[in-house]
């Protein structure tokens, strides 16, 4: 049973409301989430705050990917280079005696933005596969830089951050909760900047360009300028994450500028949802928590993670966990249960009687393409 036009309209309106103008429910939910992030770690104790700090940092990496992939529909797999270059810039600066905690983020983010300009040029000059290949090859090239400049970067041995706790405003990433609150504060600030940008005329233009650049250009938008601006915003987010990771680990290595971190960022965004700000943060936390938990019990963790990702791509191909929440919310509680019931029933019928059962496919969880494009 396909989704009716009326349902599709409801879904679209609901999605639009959530994205463009959060109502009091979303605001309350967000406030509750922030309150929990502030209050729970000290209450729970242990290493929760350290874990959450890392989740937030990698969430920024995911958010950076989501901005480009989700909003601008540009498949960038080189964001890790921006993330890593920022971390390296911070480490190199500390090696040369810079320990001012206010100067270091400027250096890291500045270096990240320089890399972003390169990706911005790609976004102007290329699209589709060509753009993806350019970002891919650039990332491979960045991976080799530490080997070419071993004196500056430490080569494949990596580089230790100097300056002690001064470089992180006196906050110890290992002890207490101060460093966690620093990361949380920075993350909230970055999210607020992104929300402000995406809620403005700029955000609406970026969405229009992402959906159909030719139509947007015909409407008078300067596509190249908007793409460059979004790439710089994405670079700012990634570079902020790189700065924080360097402070957290107090060490940088070649892996940071490689393909792995870029792909991980993409996974976080896909799992959480590429067209929201909260999605990549949720995706990073969920994905990392699951992979860390599985790794504790099996050396085949990559296989399990692969299975989980296959399931996610099948079940939530478009907008990840956040999309699932949006659809459930649009249908209401009863609608969601009805959808789940229809989904389960469809599977059972399909197993029993074959092809006919597909008619009962997840009406509650999977709106038609019409609904998605609304």
């Amino acid at each position: 049973m396909a989704v009716t036009n009326a349902e599709a309209g409801r879904l679209t309106r609901a999605g639009g409301r959530l994205r463009a103008a959060p109502g009091w429910q979303q605001a309350a939910l967000l406030a509750l989430l922030v309150l929990a992030l502030v209050a729970v770690p000290p209450l729970k104790g242990g290493i929760l705050s350290q874990r959450l700090a890392l989740y937030l940092i990698f969430g920024l990496l995911g958010l950076s990917v989501a901005l480009i992939t989700g909003y601008a529909r540009l498949f960038n797999i080189g964001v890790g280079a921006t993330f890593g270059v920022s971390a390296y810039a911070v480490a190199i600066a500390t090696q040369h005696g810079v320990s001012n905690p206010l100067l270091l983020p400027l250096i890291g983010i500045g270096a990240g933005l320089v890399v972003s300009v390169l990706f911005g040029i790609y976004a102007i000059a290329a699209a589709g596969i060509q753009y993806m290949m350019l970002t891919f090859l650039t990332t491979l090239a960045f991976f080799e830089i530490p080997n070419w400049a071993t004196k500056l970067t430490g080569g494949d041995n990596g580089l230790v951050l100097q300056g002690g706790l001064r470089i992180s405003f006196g906050q110890n990433p290992i002890r207490g909760h101060g460093f966690y609150y620093l990361v949380l504060g920075v993350t909230l600030f970055v999210c607020a900047v992104c929300w402000y940008a995406l809620s403005s005329q700029f955000g609406r233009a970026i969405r229009a360009i992402g959906q159909n650049p030719l139509r947007a250009a015909a409407m008078g938008y300067e596509v190249s300028r908007y793409r460059m601006a979004l790439t710089l915003l994405s670079g700012f987010v990634a570079a902020t994450g790189g700065w924080l990771l360097a402070l957290d680990n107090q060490f940088v290595s070649q892996d940071l500028v490689g393909l792995n971190y870029s792909l991980n960022g993409l996974l976080y965004a896909l799992v959480g949802g590429v067209d929201s700000i909260l999605g990549p943060l949720i995706g990073a936390a969920g994905f990392r928590y699951i992979s860390e938990t599985i790794s504790r019990h099996s050396s085949d963790s990559q296989l399990f993670i692969g299975i989980a990702l296959i399931a996610i791509v099948f079940l939530m191909p478009d907008d990840g966990v956040v999309g699932l929440y949006r659809r459930a919310r649009a249908r209401g509680l009863r609608g969601s249960f009805a959808g789940l019931y229809a989904y389960a029933l469809g599977l059972l019928r399909m197993l029993r009687s074959g092809d006919e059962a597909i008619e009962a496919e997840p009406a509650g969880l999977r709106p038609t393409e019409d609904a998605g494009n609304g």
Binding site: D156, N157, D255, S298, A311, F314, L351, E361
Partner: protein, 479 residues
């Protein structure tokens, strides 16, 4: 259009319904086979997993069971634990065949069981399991049973840092060790002072920086590395082959650091590097590079500084060009670098190691050690090799220092450090090749170094450099 969309959905749903259970099944069976390879595995679990084929053998499945323990201890430690006894002073009673009974001391081991260094990581795990079995069967550390908690950083330094913190702060390990890659151990080294635990580099971690420039109070490395091995080797090379050497090397950090180390070491011995041939990493066609090696007598020998598949490719080409018949070759010749079987290409080449793969003629301690190893890990084709041995030595040194300081766990870390930095282990079951001397200034150890030469599958020792004559790695001063 509708039909096409439905067909795609059907295919996706079917693939999901069939594929997921199948993958889960594979994953579960695979997981069962490797259940002991992971974190939270105790020494007992780890030993059984490490030697799956040894269920009926002496060293067998359970490191903690009394029956296997007594037999293994009798083989490994016929005269008790001299290392521990000497380190602990004359009042300490030798602890042969005594089972450890105290509350466990936990060692958090960053073993790279997957990723680029999985070969070394698995040898590390075997070496640690072997050492723990021996320690637990001979009284433990100051009477405390030793347990290993494994974590796999997958050769990612950021993951190594995260796991190191988690091991100390969540799993409450008393000591950290491991991290095969230099970038991993250098990253974890920085964490040790803040975490307040001893950190031992073992297996891999070949960067001289660890103790030559980045040394700190909490970090130790027992195995000699960098110029500590190239200096003695270069001395032999200049005396035996001549002063002029060429270096063909992988053109990235490892190869470049090897080039520098050999240049410095050969210069100290009156030799020099007159030809340098960089080869890109993972280059499949190496003939153009190998053909640059002069065979007109302008060099007396050639240093081949590669690892893994690159090493095999280069050595094969050198053999095909007949270069090994005209100039002396030195490289990583030890069999355990090649999974236990030396390829033809390394035949005749010279190398340097801290534990020869074929044992040490005339050394009864080492013979007994190798015998116990084969019983512990009958599936292994060679002796413990250099990778497993360095892990064994690290844990043994930790034990000797712990016994000397009478430690009960992490709370005694400062006492433990004091004993460790003054530690000298005599030759015995805990240090079978010879003595181990720890340098108080930089926390870098020295053991015997062996210059070896491959002859087919046989490994001959050309020269033994005693630990006392192995040079210091630098002049770092721990704070």
């Amino acid at each position: 259009m509708d039909l096409a969309i439905r067909s795609i959905r059907r295919a996706r749903l079917r693939l999901l319904l069939v594929g997921l259970p199948a993958l889960l099944l594979i994953a579960c069976s695979s997981n069962n086979n490797n259940s002991g390879n992971n974190k939270a595995a105790t020494a007992t679990k780890a030993a059984s997993a490490a030697a799956p084929a040894s269920t009926s053998s002496a060293a067998g499945t359970a490191a903690g069971t009394a029956a296997t323990a007594t037999r293994a201890a009798g083989t490994v430690a016929p005269a008790g634990s001299p290392g521990a006894a000497v380190a602990a002073g004359p009042t300490q009673t030798p602890q042969a065949t005594q089972q450890a009974t105290g509350s466990p001391i936990k060692i958090g081991v960053l073993a790279d069981l997957t990723g680029a260094f999985s070969n070394e990581g698995n040898y590390m795990k075997l070496g640690v399991d072997f050492a723990i079995q021996h320690i637990n069967n001979t009284g433990g550390i100051n009477g405390h049973k030793v347990e290993a908690v494994y974590a796999d950083p997958k050769t990612d330094p950021a993951e190594a840092v995260r796991l190191a913190r988690e091991l100390v702060q969540q799993d409450n390990v008393d000591v950290l060790m491991g991290g095969v890659g230099s970038n991993e151990c250098l990253a974890v080294e920085q964490q040790a002072p803040q975490l307040g635990v001893i950190y031992l580099a073992a297996t891999g971690c070949a960067s001289d920086q660890f103790t030559s420039t980045a040394c700190n109070k909490y970090s130790f490395r027992v195995e000699p590395t960098a110029n500590q091995t190239t200096d003695p080797e270069s001395s032999y090379l200049v005396k035996s082959a001549g002063p002029k050497w060429g270096v063909i090397y992988a053109d990235y950090a490892f190869g470049q650091s090897q080039l520098k180390a050999y240049k410095d070491s050969l210069a100290k011995q009156g030799g020099s590097v007159t030809v340098e041939i960089p080869v890109p990493l993972n280059e499949s066609n190496v003939s153009p590079y190998v053909s640059k090696i002069p065979t007109d007598g302008s060099i007396n020998g050639l240093v081949v500084a590669f690892g893994g598949a690159d090493l095999v490719r280069i050595m094969s080409a050198i053999q095909q060009f007949g270069i090994n018949k005209k100039v002396a070759i030195t490289t990583q010749a030890s069999k355990d670098f090649f999974g236990g079987t030396a390829p033809d290409a390394v035949d005749g080449s010279i190398g340097v190691t801290v534990h020869p793969t074929d044992g040490i003629p005339g050394n009864t301690w080492d013979a007994q050690f190798d015998d116990a190893w084969h019983k512990f890990a009958p599936q292994e084709r060679t002796t413990i090799g250099v990778h497993g041995y360095t892990a064994y030595m690290a844990v043994s040194a930790l034990r000797a220092a712990g016994d000397a300081a009478k430690v009960n766990g992490k709370a005694d870390t400062q006492k433990w450090i004091s004993a460790f930095e003054n530690l000298t282990m005599p030759q015995g079951p805990d240090s079978p090749t010879g003595p181990m001397i720890m340098n108080k200034n930089d926390h870098q150890g020295r053991t015997n170094v062996y210059v070896i030469q491959e002859h087919g599958q046989k490994e001959d020792i050309l020269q033994t450099v005693p630990a006392s004559e192995v040079p210091q790695i630098g002049n770092c001063q721990v704070k």
